[in-house]
Symmetry: C2
Subunit: 356 residues, 2 copies
């Protein structure tokens, strides 16, 4: 059996990360330590991975991760997944949390990376050509999670398909007035996620022969607060929906709060489905579309390492989503009966035509 | 009025971060850009802050943030707060997510920082002397959030006092069998947080003349899952508590899930108080101890910048906590009546003596 990097680490009295760095020749390992590692590797007949040898030559040993909002559950999970893969390869993670549009503009104005990273992992931001150029153009590998652009490896889910599944679930339960709590409003980052999820929502309504009602599409900013406000907006309508698809679980949590504060509950008064399968969705008994989150970060980090290793080539990975039915969705008639007593506006579409 | 860095940025056609970096002389700003910034600063009579001038001389322009678990709400929030302050100063954030004890050992074995950061912000890990040495000893400023060690600036709350307030709230409601869902079990990182919060719990029980019952102290690992399991353990007791103090809101959320799955609710069957004022605590109607989280990260980052700037000196900041009463805590008699019908074991202390 051939020696592993753990064997070399033990023999040299250092961590496996240091072994990896020493063998790759990246900065920050002092000469004596490097010599000890090289000697141990030689004595044990350890053959470094292709990645390790490819990377030799004074690179930074760092991957930059550009994230719009680190405090949102999805992003922290993706970073965690990526970080673990990078750490196992002895790579550091340089974090850029943009926070808002101005932060994005500042970041990409000029020397974004300042030669401080070998590669960049970008979360959910479809970069412009100018932004790609600011990262170093073709000389710096870029991978994306939750978005894709030409010639970059990416890992994402099919947002359109996920949204279609969510709305189809509500249609199958007999709902005809189905609202959307979408991500946008003060969300000018250019995320494609809300665009795709809205497309899935609209397509499914159309296929079901349900009229589109722009008044049933409200924005929730992908935050708990935004979701709470969006649900309040929907409840204030003369003819509120009987079901709501929220484009993220955090917005759905906010929507649940608004329902509770109004003395309403799901699915008795309104059915509610989210998106993500957030760690607390189970607790909230929230029906949702599950996506693998940490795994997307891990896969994307691996794609970047592959590119650095020369194995690259463009690879676009689409990971699966699935419907998780819990307690916040139920048949339409319950809601219709409870709250509207068959009043005619409940049966009227947005175009004024009577339905059913 | 004197010129600001924004004025210089506008005049030079670069971001304020680039202005900051150019004036400090850190790596990664190309010569032409630096010249443009220096010229603009000269023409506008811009005087860089003392921090900017102190930092001149080819430093890395980077602060390392060492975090045990990035996916926990508290840590992501603290990082976000620190990141914003650092970014405004043109500093990068190098993220080290340790994840587990082995990750910690690897990180601190040898050249932790590899000369890649000017300063280190450590979250909730009271470092050993050896670990401090691995970071660079006295040559690298270290600040802590949520912990303190000698000679390091730190920002934290008073965990003992916060826990005392929580338990005092339950005592004031008439509860006598008060359980603790603590952080430890597979938590060998040496966090002082759970130790301090448990001390607050025990001291308050003692002052109230309530007997200590080790069987009422169960561990929840600071996770939703752990909190759910801990509550299940408490419910399985022959004489379950009438009130529970969970050392974090995420554990309290898990505890609420277990209650719901058992057909129970708070405060009808058991009163429950958490710790943190998590973004979802309001939605869960969870009574809790609020602490300023993002602010701790921001203050600690500023302390580090002050040290780099030479203003330093040891500073230990303790930020305030406060009780937020919501719907999960209520008077003891309700719980007693509902679930035990006055059965004698409810009135018996852990030592077998009859109370009441």
């Amino acid at each position: 059996m051939s020696a592993t990097s753990e064997d070399v680490a033990r023999a040299a009295g250092v961590s496996t990360a240091t072994v990896s760095r020493a063998l790759r020749g990246v900065d920050g390992v002092n000469a004596a330590t490097r010599e000890r590692v090289l000697t141990a590797a030689r004595e044990l007949g350890y053959v470094a991975s292709p990645a390790a040898s490819r990377l030799a030559g004074g690179r930074t040993g760092t991957v930059a991760v550009v994230v719009p909002y680190i405090t949102r559950w999805f992003f922290a999970e993706v970073i965690s997944g990526a970080e673990q893969v990078l750490r196992d390869q002895g790579m550091d993670l340089l974090l850029y949390n943009l926070g808002h549009v101005e932060g994005r503009e500042r970041y990409f104005s000029g020397e974004a990376l300042r030669n401080r990273a070998d590669a960049v992992l970008v979360l959910c931001l479809p970069l412009s050509d100018a932004e790609l150029e600011a990262l170093g153009g073709a000389s710096i590998p870029v991978a994306l999670v939750g978005a894709d652009i030409e010639h970059c490896p990416s890992v994402r889910i099919d947002d359109v398909a996920g949204a279609r599944t969510a709305v189809r679930h509500l249609v199958n339960l007999g709902h005809e007035r189905i609202a959307l709590i979408s991500g946008e409003r003060s969300e000018p980052m250019g995320f494609t996620t809300p665009i795709d999820r809205r497309r899935g929502y609209r397509e499914t309504l159309e296929e079901a022969g349900l009229p589109a009602d722009p008044g049933l599409e409200v924005a929730g900013d992908f935050t708990v607060e935004g979701g709470a406000n969006a649900m309040a907006e929907l409840l204030a309508r003369r003819d509120p929906p009987t079901a709501v698809f929220a484009e993220s679980d955090e917005m759905a949590f906010g929507a649940l709060r608004t329902l509770r504060n109004a003395g309403l509950s799901a699915p008795r008064d309104i059915s509610l489905i989210g998106f993500d399968n957030h760690a607390l969705a189970d607790l909230m008994d929230l029906t949702t579309i599950a996506q693998p989150v940490r795994e997307q970060g891990a896969r994307a980090a691996q794609l970047l390492l592959d590119v650095l290793d020369g194995h690259g080539g463009e690879r676009r990975i689409t990971m699966p989503t699935r419907l998780v039915v819990r307690g916040t969705t139920g048949p339409a008639d319950r809601a219709g009966r409870q709250r509207n007593g068959g009043s005619p506006q409940e049966l009227r579409g947005a175009d004024g035509t009577t339905r059913s």
